[in-house]
């Protein structure tokens, strides 16, 4: 999946998310979720499956409590005691598997996404440069500001800032940790704006991709097949 054209991995993720919303629950959504987990595992994105489980675990628990335990009657008895709502449990299973499928598909896409290859592919296809730039620059900024936040936290802690303890103590840490980040975003904006302008960011012209990823026949077949599959499922759900 990492070797596929960037648009192909995006198309797979998008199609899986749409399918998760379309297929009948819970049978369809549970099957789709398991297939996505297997697919991600075999595609070398097993980390996305684990991350998906971490993201979904609290949601599954809350779904079970909110709709299964606290749901409306009629209820069914559990073998070890207690009871669950019939309709609430069905909803919890349907929604839990649907969200699991969407989360795992999204995280798998994030795991295999390569900003450089995407940028080259978008330039080659003559996508709007501003949108492409925003995507790649944001990924870069998120990493940079993440590092800066970590350094700030350590620096402020050596100056005596307390990030544990009562709610009041923790709330008082916000300005010390957040203000420098906000200030940095403003002060660097001007420098970057100048650099972007001098590099022709606002210039309207055709850009050349230096190293565009190969868009093979297999990539195109996969993308068109996914489109056909989604359209087919839409028609099936509309008539059934």
């Amino acid at each position: 999946m990492r070797r596929a054209h960037p648009f192909t991995s995006g198309a797979i993720a998008l199609a899986l998310i749409v399918l998760a919303l379309l297929v009948p629950a819970p049978r369809g959504t549970v099957t789709l979720y398991l297939l996505i987990c297997l697919g991600a595992w075999f595609a070398g994105a097993g980390r996305a499956v684990w991350l998906g489980l971490l993201v979904m675990a609290p949601l599954w628990l809350l779904l079970l409590v909110m709709h299964g335990v606290l749901g409306e009657a009629p209820r069914f008895a559990l073998p070890w005691g207690g009871s669950l709502s019939v309709s609430g449990s069905a909803w919890a299973l349907a929604q839990g598997s649907r969200l699991g499928a969407i989360v795992t598909a999204s995280l798998t896409f994030a795991t295999v996404f390569d900003p450089h290859r995407f940028l080259q592919a978008a330039v080659e296809r003559r996508w709007p440069w501003s949108a492409t730039f925003l995507l790649v620059a944001t990924l870069d900024a998120a990493e940079r500001f993440g590092d800066q936040a970590r350094r700030l936290r350590e620096a402020q802690r050596t100056r005596g800032l307390r990030v544990r303890g009562s709610l009041r103590l923790r709330a008082r840490a916000i300005p010390a940790l957040v203000f420098p980040l906000l200030l940095a975003s403003l002060t660097e904006a001007d420098d970057r704006a100048l650099a972007l302008e001098s590099r022709g960011l606002t210039h309207h012209g055709v850009r050349t991709a230096i190293d565009p990823p190969a868009d093979t026949a297999l990539d195109r077949v996969v993308r068109w097949s996914l489109l056909a599959l989604v359209v087919g499922v839409v028609i099936w759900r509309a008539v059934s």
Partner: protein
């Protein structure tokens, strides 16, 4: 789009993502994941803020799933209210910032309750759903529990966020603030 906005938008989206993580690490009952949206809306106006909100929601989807995309409406609403507050000097004092924050929290809480109830039957992010579950356990109907939980968390979150953005704007040197005419009006200079 101006080069300055081009440079500001990625930084503001990163602020949304990173500060949200900082608030989470501090185990605070607020999200603070809209500070970048508010800041750009105050500095450059509604379109910039709405753009930051949209891109932030798309990136958050990459990290936690695209099921929360419908909540992009909340980001747009925050950008709108921050821009209106800026035009009316809503960040001139901490009290005024807090007042606009409460108003924003009420509106955002009501709309996110509708989205949460209609699409997710009340089970969305951890904190707000935990409060909703608690209220449901106390015997409140699902719709009431979801609305109350959304209102409580959003009012707190948006009030803190408006106060933080207001504090930053008032602390900015005139040299930086002068580059953004709306921001000068926002703090009454």
């Amino acid at each position: 789009m101006s080069p300055r906005l081009f440079a500001l938008v990625p930084a503001a989206v990163a602020i949304n993502l990173v500060v949200g993580r900082v608030a989470n690490e501090l185990a605070l009952p607020v999200y603070l994941d809209t500070l970048g949206t508010m800041l750009v809306a105050v500095l450059t106006g509604l379109p910039g803020g709405a753009l930051v909100g949209t891109v932030s929601q798309l990136f958050a989807g990459m990290l936690s799933g695209y099921q929360w995309l419908p909540f992009v409406v909340i980001q747009w609403l925050i950008a709108l209210l921050a821009a209106v507050a800026a035009n009316r000097g809503g960040f001139a004092t901490p009290l005024r910032s807090a007042g606009w924050g409460v108003a924003c929290g009420i509106l955002c809480g009501l709309i996110s309750a509708v989205i949460s109830f209609a699409l997710f039957r009340g089970v969305t992010a951890g904190g707000v759903t935990a409060i909703g579950t608690l209220l449901r356990g106390l015997g409140l109907p699902l719709s009431t529990a979801v609305t109350a939980a959304s209102l409580v968390t959003d009012i707190l979150d948006k009030t803190v966020a408006f106060v933080v953005v207001g504090g930053l704007l008032r602390a900015l040197p005139k040299r930086i603030l002068g580059r953004f005419p709306v921001a000068s009006r926002a703090v009454g200079r």
